[in-house]
């Protein structure tokens, strides 16, 4: 079991308020991703749940039990750090065994669980090495191994993949998702990479300046962003925003159109926005065009990779009328 519930949790460091007031319910077995820009308080929130920081006020329940004041060692959660935080003076075997030793498990149980974890994570041949003799990906696996052996109520990950190269990140992303499907244990995963958030999460918490902007499934956030912040944060490339008279035509303070929701033409279209191609980023499968639209500014447009555009080409843009997002003056979705 591993349900986590935050009730009016607040956190200040000295005078500075980092988390004004957060309430959140995470169900048992859920994969929840905290995402948001750098410095928005993702790690702080995770560390509050872990017990590595004390709350300023509010309550943290684990499986319905009040754990607000419990030290990390008593909460039964496991954490994987961005820096891996392996014990440099211990072998891989002792690293993985450490939580079991702390729990005073009998030796046979420890050996058996360590062997099993090592086999699952492809670490069997490295068990007698020290962490410094491992690659980044292997170290990350050891950190995960150390987390899974003690069968925690929930796993907490703080940007575990950000020190890995791009190819390895994709691999490890899949491995962690697979691990979640196998173990069905609650996981909270912090990242500022919205692709990781979209691909891994059951539900995403979008944080901004210590506030929850929206909490919902990836597709919910993509299709029905609650406000301009979420609309701009979820989706890659970013949504294009337009204010002023063009937005007023739609009865809104500002409107947003995703790069993939345009009709693009080289020939004039009625009511279309006219612009000139600036940079064309050709990825092969897709092409991202950065178009300078008269009176509206720079827009990003996604087209298929077969079309070739060059700098200065005239193009006409037609936003899909059913997929225009409208926002009021406060940025709330209409």
């Amino acid at each position: 079991m591993g349900s986590i519930s935050l009730q009016h949790v607040k956190k200040s460091f000295g005078e500075v308020q980092i988390i004004p007031d957060i309430s959140l319910d995470i169900k048992d077995g859920e994969f929840v991703v905290f995402v948001g820009p750098s410095g928005c308080g993702k790690s702080t929130l995770l560390r509050l749940i872990a017990g590595l920081e004390d709350t300023t006020s509010g309550t943290i329940l684990l499986d319905g039990q009040d754990m607000t004041k419990a030290p990390p060692a008593r909460r039964g959660l496991a954490m994987v750090f961005q820096s891996y935080a392996l014990y440099p003076h211990m072998t891989v075997r002792d690293n993985i065994a450490f939580p079991l030793k702390m729990a005073k498990a009998p030796k046979e149980v420890i050996d058996q669980k360590v062997e099993y974890a090592a086999r699952t994570l492809n670490l069997s041949s490295y068990l007698d090495r020290r962490p410094r003799a491992l690659s980044g990906g292997q170290r990350q696996r050891v950190a995960i191994g150390r987390a899974i052996v003690r069968e925690p109520k929930a796993f907490l990950f703080d940007e575990p993949l950000s020190n890995l190269d791009a190819a390895l990140r994709v691999n490890m992303r899949l491995e962690i998702t697979e691990l979640h499907q196998q173990l069905k244990t609650t996981m909270i995963y912090v990242t500022h990479d919205q692709v990781e958030a979209m691909t891994m999460a059951d539900r995403i918490v979008v944080l901004n300046a210590g506030n929850v902007e929206q909490f919902g499934s990836p597709l919910d956030l993509y299709k029905k962003p609650a406000n301009r912040f979420v609309a701009g944060f979820i989706g890659s490339p970013r949504m294009n925003f337009v204010d002023g008279p063009e937005a007023a035509k739609h009865n809104a303070h500002s409107i947003g159109v995703r790069p993939e929701h345009f009709k693009l033409s080289r020939d004039p279209l009625a009511n279309a926005w006219k612009g000139k191609v600036g940079v064309a980023e050709q990825l092969g499968s897709d092409t991202f065009l950065h178009v300078h639209v008269e009176g509206l500014g720079l827009m990003t447009i996604r087209t298929d990779g077969d079309q070739t555009f060059s700098h200065g080409d005239d193009v006409y843009l037609m936003p899909d009328p059913t997929r225009i997002y409208r926002f009021d003056a406060a940025g709330i979705a209409l």
């Binding site: 017990g51 590595l52 030290p71 990390p72 954490m79 820096s83 935080a85 392996l86 014990y87 003076h89």
Partner: protein, 276 residues
């Protein structure tokens, strides 16, 4: 990084380094040589460099007049005991300052250091009276206690500096792994800080070994250490230079040997974190 240093400069620096080292070593060398001279030769108006009449009689005289083994045992008990006690107090204290600092931690550190700036005689009377009333005068445990207290600021400072180099993530990982404070310190922090703890230990054994003020004033016959042993050979009358040298040589020999064998560890520990 390749640097162009002319041969002349290199020779110059090497020469200077040797000169300074010899200068620092010369008193010890002189003691070493004097210990094997006769008393008359030791105070001769035109001093000789090498002993003209090589003799060991100073050493037997020293042993006859005073018990070297007893003093050496006291020195070992006090220096090792006070260092171990200091580490037992200093490790948790340095943990708190390095990993759970408050707004006042820096002030506490400065305050601890400031106690080392006060001359020891300043507290001689109160400490003497307290020792007298608690019947700690001339006892090994009393001396161990005072040695612990006077070296504790240095122990905590050194440990604090080493602990600061240890990533707090790793200690937090231990907490998440279910380690209570004791296990966190014993199984994670201490093994990672071994080089730093070892040089703290070595340095403090040396400091406590060489400490003279308190060992001379707070002890007499029973709990005297080797520094008290040396001082008993300096007298206002008679010839004593050669015997004093022999006593000094006997007193510093153990710590000199220890320092010699552990110098690699000492240098490594004292420059820990400087090169990374």
């Amino acid at each position: 990084m390749a640097r162009n240093v002319s041969t002349g400069t290199k020779i110059g620096f090497t020469f200077a380094a040797w000169a300074i080292a010899l200068l620092l070593f010369s008193p010890i060398l002189w003691v070493l040589l004097t210990a094997f001279k006769t008393e008359a030769e030791a105070i001769a108006n035109s001093p000789t460099f090498l002993p003209q009449n090589f003799t060991l009689e100073n050493f037997s005289a020293v042993q006859d007049r005073s018990d070297y083994v007893k003093h050496a045992t006291n020195s070992i008990l006090v220096s090792v005991g006070s260092t171990l006690l200091g580490l037992a107090i200093g490790i948790p204290a340095a943990w708190a300052m390095a990993f759970a600092p408050t707004k006042r931690t820096k002030d506490v550190l400065m305050w601890m250091l400031s106690t080392k700036m006060m001359p020891a005689v300043g507290v001689l009377i109160p400490i003497y009276l307290i020792f007298r009333d608690l019947r700690l005068l001339d006892t090994v445990h009393g001396l161990t206690l005072i040695m612990t207290v006077i070296n504790l600021p240095i122990i905590i400072w050194m440990l604090y500096t080493y602990f600061k180099e240890i990533p707090v993530d790793i200690l937090e990982a231990a907490r998440m792994d279910g380690a209570e404070l004791y296990n966190e310190i014993v199984h994670v922090l201490v093994p990672m800080a071994v080089p730093g703890i070892a040089s703290t230990l070595l340095l403090n054994v040396i400091l406590a070994w060489n400490e003279a003020f308190w060992s001379i004033t707070l002890t007499s016959g029973r709990a005297g250490t080797l520094t008290a042993f040396i001082s008993s050979f300096s007298s206002p009358q008679g010839l004593f230079l050669a015997k004093l040298s022999a006593a000094s040589l006997l007193a510093i020999a153990p710590i000199l040997l220890m320092g010699w064998f552990s110098q690699k560890q000492l240098v490594r520990g004292l420059t820990f974190g400087a090169v990374k």
